[in-house]
Every structure is written in C-alpha cells, then in structure tokens.
Amino acid sequence: MRKVITGNHTVSYAAKITRSEVVAAYPITPQTQVVEKISSFCADGEMDAIFIKVESEHSACAACIGASAAGARAFTATSSQGLALMHEMLHWAANARTPIVIANINRAMGPPWSIWTDQNDSLSQRDTGWIHYYCEGNQDVLDSIIQAFKVSETVSVPSLVILDAFFLSHTSEPVDLRDQKLVDKFLPKYEAKWKLDPKDPHTYGGLTGPDRYYELRYNLQKDFLRVEKVMDKVHQEFKELFGREYGRVEPFMADDAEILLVVSGTISSTAKQAVVDAREAGLKLGSLKIRVFRPFPFDLVKKYLKGKKAIAVIDRNYSFGGEGIFYSEVKSAMYDEPHLPIYSYIAGLGGRDVAVKDILAIANLAKEGKCDHPTWWGVKL
C-alpha cells in the first residue's frame, strides 16, 4: 500500500510492520509524532505491543535493553538531547549485545536551543558500538528499519536509523508501506540467541577483569566485521522480496565522474540534482551517498573514490578541534591514495538550507582545488 506520509509516521509504521513487541519512548521535537502514532496503534489494537511511557530517554533505552534481554523485539525513537541522554545506555545495549533498533531524528544540540537538523547528535554516538544508517527519504526510513532489525538480530548488534529533522521527519512523501506478509517472511518473529530465563539462570554483565574484558570487545568487533556481509545478503534478499535495491553506499553518476561529492542524509537528494545540473553545464560531477556509517564502508568508498580528480566531502556536522567527521573517515579510507585531493566542506549546521546552488558552488571550488580545510560554506562572518 502506498501512502503519502511524513518521516515521523513512517517510523511509527516501521515499528508496527516489524512487529516490535516493546516500545519504550519519550517525546522530543521533532520526533513527537512517532510516539503519538505508536500510542494510537497500541491503543487501537493495531499493534500488539507494550508501550512503556517512560519518564526519560535514559529509561527508554534501558527498558528496551531489558525487553530485548527478556527475549522480545524492542524499539524506540528519539532525537538530539534525548539521544545524548541515552548515551550511557547506548554503550550498555551494544556491550550487552541486545539487538534493539532506535530511530533518531537528527537535530542540532543546544545551546542555543535548535530543533533543526544536523548530525552532531548521532555522530557523538559513533563509538558506542551501534550500526548507523543515514536515510535519504521516507521510503529509505521504512526499509532501513525493517532491514536494521534483521541485521541486528543476526549479529546481536543494535542499530540506529537516522533521519533529518523536518526535511524528513515533517515532510510528506509517498511511501510503499510494504506488505505485512512479506515483511513477516523477511523478518520472522525474534528468536533471541540468549535470554533471561529462570529455568536456565545466568548472570549477564558482572564484574569482568582485564583478563577477559578485552576478549569481549574483540568479539564485538569480530561481529562488526560480519555486518557488511550480512547487510549485503540482507539487501539482496530485500530486493528479491520488495524490488528495491539498497547498498551500504549509493553512487550516483559516480563511475565516469571526475569530481565526486561524498554526502549523507537528505543532502544526498539535493546533491543528485546538483550532479544532473553540473553535467548539463559540462562538469563531470558525481556523488556518493554514505548510507551505512558504521561499520564504515571503507571498501566501497575506496572503490568509488579511486582515480577521481578531486573529492568534496560535505559534512553537516563538526568535531570541534578536529574536522568534519565524514571527512575524517573518508580520508582514512583513502590513506593508500596519497595523491587524491580530498576537500572538506562544512554546511547546513542547525538546519541551514543546503540548496542545489550551494552544492554546485562547492563542486566548482573542489574542481579548482579551493578549500580552506575545511571551508565553512556560507558562514556569515
């Protein structure tokens, strides 16, 4: 069934169609419609789930971990300050190997208060041991959540599915809501690899000395190394069932491009238009969307960036005292290509619009080798 819906309601439908059994959530702009809709799904009996109306995001994440440890499929959604409040429990979820899924609406961190998009909230959680998906459109949001559960439950690693505030959360787009039967086939009922069970009592997460802790983290990374293969398989299976193709990255007119943009989130759509316009004007531009940020697709980034004349990484985020965060990752992927110029452009923090003309200007700067490492594009001085 196709329906014109907002990103937020897409997230609610995703919770429903994945048959999430426990949802524990707390409202925050711009995520509130997600919880409102899930509440009504639960109240109407459209969704067979327990909705725990917790008193904070910290508790939301804790409750999801608990539900998952008890053997149920658990889901929540949040944004910025809420995700930051969860931080301790994000580590807990990953280290406890509970495969929960969280949708995070990218929103700038305060102060000053901002409700508009940028990626610093989710990127601050980069090292918590979660899989990170960045979404470009609402269909992507729905499908990513469905896929995330499957990947997470296979490798016992939780997933964050990330979408831009307002540009997706409050923007209506046509979304194929997917057939429940097909989703059930793709994502069967959750069978936990381990769970809390009085008939088979174990202690989880007790004091662990230096002689063993190290190996537990090594095991987590070992499973992270499996994620890419699992994802590639899941994408294939998804394509067969639902007819839509997904990858860890998405190249757009990248193969013959001389200048390549590296982008994420909704900027990816704008970048595609910029590519089309640039080509008409005679500039061989292409783009590469990073859809999966963790595990970082080093292999694919290498593959698509190799041999280009210049790379322009656009970051809607910043690591203060450091650099654009996607830029750091891309540079590290291209370490073996010392002669490839990789330029860093910061844009769109706090929801500042990044229009086609901005991206075209950035592409031209990259073509001319102009970059202040980084260039804060459009900053009013």
Binding site: I52, V54, G66, A69, L196, P201, T203, R212
Partner: protein, 330 residues
C-alpha cells in the same frame, strides 16, 4: 535436622524456607547485611525470579565473570536504571506470555534514593508490575563509603568527615512511595527475617509496583566488627530508629511493635560512624526518632506510648532541629 531449636523447653519452628538460592563463595565482606538480605529475599521469591541489579555492592558480591553466586538470572545494569531496566524486562516477559516471572529491581540506597529515584518514580507512577527492593546500608559502600541521601543525620562517611558529618536527615523513601499511591510498600531489617519474608511473600502476590526497603548493616561502612552485624541492626528497630511497618493501599500498619524504651544511643554507640557525636547531638537524633515514631503512630491510627518522650528537650536541641542539624561549636 534443621532448623528448629529448643527455647525454654518448648520447640520453636522457624518459618524461613530452607531453599538456598545464594551459593556460598560470593564476594561479600564478613558480616555483610546486603548478602543476608539477598538470601532471605530469594528464599521467599523462589526460582521463578529475574533480577535487575544496578551498580552497587551487589555488582561485585555476585562474583566475577564467569562466576555467579545466585541461582536466578541476574542482569547487571547501569547505576540509575534498576527500575527502568526491570520495567523493560517485565514488558518483554509479559508480551511473550511469561508475566508470572517475579521481576525484581535490586538496588542499594544510593541507586534508589539518589541517582535512580527518577526511574523508580516513573516505574511506580506507571504501575509496572515490578518488585523494587532497596537494601539500605546508608551510604555508597561500593565506592568506599560516601554519603547518600539515605545516610542518617550525624553519620561520618568519607564525604562527611566530622565536624562536617551528615547534617541533613535521611530521605524517607517509603513516604515518597506512599505519595505515589503505591499498592504496597514496607520496611524490613535483616535482623527480622521472618517479618521480611512475610513482606516479600505479600509483595510477590500483588500485581503492580511494590517497594521494599531493608536495613542492612555494613561493618566496614558503619565501623563495627562483623560479628555484631545483626545486633547492630536489631537495635535500629528496638530503638525505633528504623521501625518495621508496611503500607498497603495507603494504610499504615506496624509489623513489629516496640513497647520498651531503648535509647537511640544504644544503636549509635556500637558504630564508629557515630563516635564523634556529643550528647546534645545524640539528643537531636533521639528527638528525630520520637517525631518519626509519633508521625507513624498517627498514620497507623494507634496511640503513641512514647508520647511523653517528645517532651523535655532543651531549646538548644530544638533550635537545631529539624532541618539542618547544626550544633554550633562552643
């Protein structure tokens, strides 16, 4: 044959279940009250039980990975999440048709009255079917005896060194729970295991949130020798400093009545953490005991047999009471 013994020629039978769900070989200190609290609690709850345990001494007592001293599943969790984790576990069980499992949040006093109070309040307000148990050793013991909101007036801790000993009163967590309209809440004391087991059994049968708080001595934290762990906490109840009572749907009931007057100094003097107190300061603590007792008697609707003890305090003692107990240095 266990466990009956002869008293005055009559045979007395203990009602404490024989089943042991705490193995020997745990990592507690000698004379640890928190460990006895766990042992008695599990005797009442039985095996169909799952624990959510935040950072506290019990994070360590249970044993280092891969060992455990409990015969029930235990999920270790972050310091402030005993309640929220338990709510999630309970929901996970309930949606899978296993709502009969006793889900217990087991936390220290710091994890309960301080950092975890928000999650606990949320859990109780929502009405989640969780039994929350606070073992109260009256300080952050795991991290080396720092004051908590449950540390009593007058106590030394590493963060309340005399003359800056704890000046503010212990939080009345049971009253806070009553203010949440909780179906059942009660106090306990490891020196009174039968009273405790009755309360745990009662709580177990109630669907909804339950809050129990059991006073548990801590020899290294309270500074007394380990062999008097029981004697010390028993005095907490016989001096009426820690009365045993329960509140069911708002109705207060004493589960152990005290008839004989034993001054609170009897409890205080056994412990190094109160050693610095002057007589006047001890008088203030006695006055706090009398006031709390009078308040409980009024709530339980019984006559206060110790009403006369409320009188006769000097103006100086009263002046330093009730809030910021602060005796000026002469």
């Amino acid at each position: 044959m266990r466990p009956s013994h002869l008293v005055g020629g009559k045979t007395m039978k203990t009602t404490i279940p024989k089943e042991e769900l705490v193995y020997s070989g745990h990592l507690a200190c000698q004379g640890c009250g928190a460990t006895l609290a766990m042992r008695y609690t599990l005797k009442a709850l039985g095996q169909n039980t799952v624990y959510s345990v935040p950072a506290c001494c019990w994070s360590v007592i249970d044993g280092p990975f891969p060992y455990t001293s409990l015969q029930i599943p235990l999920f270790h969790t972050a310091f402030e999440t005993a309640a929220s984790m338990a709510s999630g576990i309970q929901a996970g069980f309930a949606i899978r048709g296993k709502g009969d499992i006793n889900v217990v949040a087991w936390a220290g006093d710091g994890g309960t009255v301080d950092i975890g109070i928000q999650a606990l309040s949320g859990m109780v307000e929502r009405g989640d079917n969780v039994l929350y148990i606070c073992y109260d050793n009256e300080a952050y013991m795991n991290t080396g005896i720092q004051r908590s909101g449950s540390t009593p007036v007058g106590a030394w801790t590493t963060t309340t060194p005399p003359p800056h000993f704890k000046k503010s009163p212990k939080k009345d967590m049971v009253a806070i729970m009553v203010a949440h309209h909780i179906p059942y809440t009660a106090t306990g004391n490891i020196a009174y295991p039968e009273d405790w087991i009755k309360k745990v059994n009662k709580a177990k049968e109630i669907v909804g949130p339950k809050y129990l708080q059991i006073l548990a001595s801590c020899p290294p934290g309270w500074k007394h020798s380990s062999e008097i762990s029981i004697e010390v906490v028993r005095l907490a109840t016989s001096t009426r400093k820690w009365p045993l009572y329960e509140v069911e749907n708002g109705n207060y009931k004493f589960t152990r009545m005290t008839r004989k007057f034993v001054p609170v100094s009897e409890f205080l003097k056994l412990q190094g953490r109160f050693r610095h107190l002057t007589e006047e300061e001890i008088d203030v603590i006695q006055l706090l005991v009398e006031e709390h007792w009078a308040d409980l008697c009024a709530k339980a609707g019984i006559e206060n047999q110790f009403a006369d003890k409320l009188e006769g305090y000097t103006e100086k003692v009263k002046k330093h009471h009730p809030q910021w107990f602060h005796i000026e240095e002469d």
